[in-house]
Amino acid sequence: MGLIRNLARSSTVIRQILIRNNHKIIMARQLHASRTDGVDKNVWVEFTQLAADYKAVNLGQGFPDFSPPKFIQEAFCKAVSGGPIMHQYTRAFGHPPLVRSLAKFFSRIVGHEIDPLEDILVTVGAYQALFCAFQALVNEGDEVIIVEPFFDCYQPMVKMAGGKAVYVPLRPKAASGAVLSSGDWVLSAEELASKFTPRTKAVVINTPNNPIGKVYKTEELQMIADLCIKHDALCISDEVYEWLTYDGAKHVKIASLPGMWERTITVGSAGKTFSATGWKVGWAISSGHIVKHMKTIHQNTVYHCATAAQEAVAQGFEREYEVFGSPESYFQQLPAMLQLKRNKLASCLESVGLQPIMPQGGYFITADISSVKVDYNDQSSVDEPNDFRFVKWLTKEKGLAAIPVSAFYSPEHSKEFDKYIRFCFVKVNEMQFMTLNLILIRFSFLFLIVLLYDSPSTQTLSFS
C-alpha cells in the first residue's frame, strides 16, 4: 500500500518536473471539463477528413452537390444588399419575419395555432436546436430513450447534459431473405414500452430517419405518443428531412397527435429544406412553456443567429406558403428529383451485390456489405468495427467515400449492425455518378471473377 502511494507521489513529481523542464507551462491538474469526457470522437471529423485527403467521390457527408433553388439565392442576395440592419443583430430568439413565416406555415400543418414569439426558437442549424433541447430539459441522471439507428450527435449531447441514453433499435421485420424497404424496419411496442422508467425524461425520434430513411406511419407515432403520455415524457422529434419523402410516403408530425403538442419539440432545418446546409439556420417549435427554457440556453450560448440568412429563409417560406401543394413548390420538385437519384444509386449498388435498403425518405441509402469480403491489409484499423474498416478501405483504395452505419448505433448494438454503410444520393453531378459507376464496375468485375472460381463464403477478395 505504502509502495503504491510512494509510486503515485513520485510519478506526480516526475510529471511536474518534466513540465517545468520543457518550459511548457501546462496545468498539472485536468485542463478540460469532465462534461467533454467521452464526447471528443466524432465520425464526421474523421471521415470527411479522410474523403478530403484521398480526394474521394464523396457520398459520405449529407449535403447536396447542387445549389439552393434560385428564389432562395435571390432572397439571400436581396438581404445582403438590404439596409444596414440586415448586417446587425436581430431579435435573439428569431428574426421577426422568419418566426412569423414559420408560424404561419407550420400552424396549418400541425393543426395548432403557433405563436411566433413564444412557440419558436431559431437556432444555428437543427444541430443547435437539439443542443438547446437537451441542455434545457435533461438533468443529471435523467434517461433519454433514443431510437436506433440515430443521428450520431444525440448520444454525446445527452451525455454532455448528464443524461443516460437508453437505446431501442429499429429491427428489420422479415425473419429471412432480403429486407428491401426502410418501412420494413420497425419498433417493437413491447421493447419500447420496456425502456420507460420513472427516470425517462424524453424520447428522441427522427422521421424521416437518418441513416435508414424510415418514414414513421401514424400508427407507429401513435404508439410512441401513447407511451409518452402514459409516462409523462417529452418527445424530441427531429424532422429535418420532412419534405423529402418518396413513393407517396406521407410525413406525419407527432406534435399533431392529440396530447402531443405540449410535450413535443419539433426540430427543423433550413439547410435541408432549401438545400443550403451551409447557411446553418434551424428551429425548434414547441409549446411556449418548453421553448422558454430553450431560450434561456440559447441566450447563454450563442444568443443571436445571423440576420441575412434568416431573412432569406423567411422569404423562402413566404414563397412556399403561396405555392404549397402545387407543382411549383420546391417541396414537391425536390423530392421528385431526388427520388430518381435514389433509384439510380440503388440500382448501381444492387448491380454489384451491395444490398440497398430502399429509403422512404431523407438523403441516404444504407447498403448491406455482408456479401463482400475484403482483405484489408490495414493493421491500424484492426480493432474497429467491420463497416468502419470497409469504408476506410473503400475511401483509400477505391476513391469512394461513405459513412459506416454502426456509428449510428449504441455500443451495445453496434456489432449487430456493422454490416451496413451509408451513401448520400443528394448529388446531381453526373461526373460523380459516372465515376461511381466505374468504381463499382471494377469492383464487381473482380467480385465476379471470384464467383466463377470459388464460393464467396470461403474466398476473400484481396485488393492490392
Partner: protein, 485 residues
C-alpha cells in the same frame, strides 16, 4: 392568484396555474376537476365561441391524463433566464426612440465585405457545410493576421476555432474548460454574459471590481484600476480561470502592459487559465495600445484569446467570432463545438476571410479598416462626450471600444414615480424613465456588476456611440432640450 393564458383560436390547450393549494404546478387534464371547471368558465366568460376552440376544449378535457408536473427545466438554467438585453431591447425597439443602448453600429459596414458575401453565396459549394472547426480560408487568414500581431506561428487547424460570434467562443471556453465546482474570476464591470455562462458550467463566479482613482476632474477609463492585493486575494486552489476584457465593455478601459503583467504573474503563480475577450481589439484611440496578454511570457500556453468579425467589420448580424490559443486548450473547445452546433455558416466565413486578407495587406496604414474605423469612432466619441458634458452629466472618456459610461448624478433626477421593483437599482429606473420620457435609450451599468458593487455603479448609464451622425445629432437634440427643462 390565478393566472391564465388562453392560446389563440384553434388551440387545443389551456394552460394555467391552479388555485388549488395541493397542486401548485402546471396542470392539464381531466384528472384535475378543478382545472376543468376553470377552463370551462374561462372559455365561457371570454365568449370564446370559436368552433374549433370548443371542439379542442372538449378534446382536451376528455383526453388522457396529461399531468405535466415533471416538465421542469434542467437545473443548469436555474436563475439564468433574466437578461438585460431581452428587457431593454424591446423597450428601445420603438422607432421613435433614439437608440444608444445595444452595442451595434447603425453605420453601414464596408461595401467590400457585403460584396464578398454576395460573391461567396453565388458559389455552389459555399452554400453547403464547410469544415466544422472553421472554414479553411478563414482560419488561414486568421492565422496570418494574428500570427503577425502576436509574433508567432499560429497553426490554423489546431490553434484556431471559429464560433458563432465572440459569444460562442466564450461559451465554448466555459463548457470546454470550466468544471463544476471551479471558480472563475471576473472583473467588474463585465460583459453581462460571463456570469450566467460560468454558472451554467456549474462553477462559481468570483467578482472583483475596477475601482476609480479619486480626485480627478476629467475622468477617463484609465482612471479605473485593479487593486493588486485585492486581485491576489481572489485566487485560490479552486480558481480555474480569470476572464479579462480589453478594451473593456462597458467602461472602455484598455489594460496597460503592466496591468496585464500583474494578472499574468498571478495566473502563472496559481496555474490558472486566462480567457481574454478582445472583441474590440482594433478600436483603440490615440495614445493607447492594445496589448494581447497571450503574448506575455508564459501566457500563450494558458490563454484563449477571443475575437469577433461582428465588431471588427461592423457586421454584428453575421455572428462570427474565433478563439485563438494553444492546441491543448483549443482541442477541448473544438469538442464542445462538435457537440453543440458543429459548424458555422459557410458564405459568411468566406466573406470574413476575404475582408481579413484585404486588410492584412494594409495593416498599419490609414486605409486599413482596423485603423480607419478607430479614427472615425474617436471623432464620434469626442462628440458624444461634449454633448453629455454640455448637459451637465459627466462622461468617462473611453480609451477603446464603442461605449461610454455617463454619470447622471448631477441631473438629480427624481425617479420615485417610476414603476418597478423596490430593490431595482437607480440606473435601471433612470434608463426606463429616459426611454419613456426622453425617447433616448441607454443601458444601465449595474447589469454589468454583481450585487455587492451595485451601489458604486448605479449612477452610470452606458451609451453606444458607433452611430451615424444623424443619430448622434438626434441624441444631441434630446439632451439639449432636457437641459432647458
Amino acid at each position: 392568484m390565478m393566472r391564465s393564458r388562453i392560446m389563440m383560436c384553434g388551440s387545443p390547450l389551456l394552460l394555467f396555474h391552479c388555485v388549488c393549494p395541493l397542486k401548485p404546478s402546471w396542470i392539464l387534464g381531466q384528472s384535475d376537476p378543478c382545472s376543468m371547471i376553470i377552463a370551462r368558465q374561462l372559455l365561457h366568460r371570454t365568449g370564446f365561441a370559436c368552433r374549433s376552440a370548443s371542439i379542442n376544449c372538449r378534446r382536451f378535457c376528455t383526453s388522457q391524463h396529461i399531468k405535466m408536473s415533471r416538465h421542469t427545466h434542467s437545473k443548469r438554467i436555474e436563475g439564468l433566464d433574466k437578461n438585460v438585453w431581452v428587457a431593454f431591447t424591446s423597450l428601445a425597439a420603438d422607432p421613435s426612440v433614439v437608440n444608444l443602448g445595444q452595442g451595434f453600429p447603425d453605420i453601414p459596414p464596408p461595401s467590400y465585405i457585403k460584396q464578398a458575401l454576395a460573391e461567396a453565396a453565388s458559389v455552389d459549394k459555399m452554400n453547403q457545410y464547410t469544415r466544422g472547426f472553421g472554414h479553411p480560408s478563414l482560419v488561414k487568414a486568421l492565422s496570418q493576421v494574428y500570427g503577425t500581431v502576436c509574433g508567432r506561428q499560429i497553426d490554423p487547424f489546431k490553434e484556431i476555432l471559429v464560433t458563432v460570434g465572440g459569444y460562442g467562443s466564450l461559451f465554448s471556453c466555459m463548457q470546454g474548460l470550466v468544471e463544476v465546482g471551479d471558480e472563475v474570476i471576473i472583473i467588474e464591470p463585465f460583459f453581462d454574459c460571463y456570469v450566467p455562462m460560468v454558472r451554467m458550467a456549474g462553477a462559481k463566479p468570483v467578482l472583483i471590481p475596477l475601482r476609480l482613482k479619486s480626485g480627478k476632474k476629467t475622468i477617463t477609463s484609465a482612471d479605473w484600476y485593479l487593486d493588486p492585493d485585492e486581485l491576489s486575494s481572489k485566487f485560490n486552489s479552486k480558481t480555474k480561470a480569470i476572464i479579462i476584457n480589453t478594451p473593456n465593455n462597458p467602461i472602455g478601459k484598455v489594460f496597460t502592459r503592466d496591468e496585464l503583467q500583474m494578472i499574468a504573474d498571478l495566473c502563472i503563480k496559481h496555474d490558472t487559465l486566462c480567457f481574454s475577450d478582445e472583441v474590440y481589439e482594433w478600436l483603440i484611440y490615440r495614445g493607447h495600445e492594445h496589448i494581447k496578454i497571450a503574448t506575455l511570457p508564459g501566457m500563450w500556453d494558458r490563454t484563449i484569446t477571443i475575437g469577433s468579425a461582428g465588431k471588427t467589420f461592423s457586421v454584428t448580424g453575421w455572428k462570427l467570432g474565433w478563439s485563438v490559443g494553444p492546441e491543448h486548450l483549443i482541442k477541448h473547445l473544438q469538442t464542445v463545438m462538435q457537440n453543440t452546433l458543429y459548424t458555422c455558416a459557410t458564405p459568411l466565413q468566406e466573406a470574413v476571410a476575404q475582408g481579413l486578407l484585404r486588410n492584412f495587406e494594409m495593416m498599419g496604414q490609414p486605409e486599413c479598416y482596423f485603423t480607419s474605423l478607430a479614427e472615425e469612432l474617436e471623432g464620434k466619441r469626442n462628440r458624444m462626450a461634449a454633448i453629455v458634458e454640455d448637459v451637465g452629466m459627466t462622461p468617462v472618456i473611453p480609451e477603446g471600444g464603442y461605449f461610454m459610461l455617463v454619470d447622471v448624478t448631477s441631473l438629480n433626477q427624481d425617479l420615485s414615480h417610476v414603476v418597478g421593483d423596490d430593490d431595482e437599482a437607480y440606473d435601471y429606473k433612470f434608463v426606463k424613465w429616459m426611454v419613456k420620457e426622453k425617447k433616448l435609450a441607454a443601458i444601465p451599468v449595474t447589469a454589468f456588476v454583481g450585487d455587492e458593487s451595485k451601489k458604486e455603479f448605479e449612477k452610470y448609464i452606458r451609451l453606444c456611440f458607433i452611430k451615424q451622425d444623424s443619430t448622434l445629432a438626434a441624441a444631441e437634440e434630446i439632451l439639449k432640450s432636457w437641459k432647458k427643462v
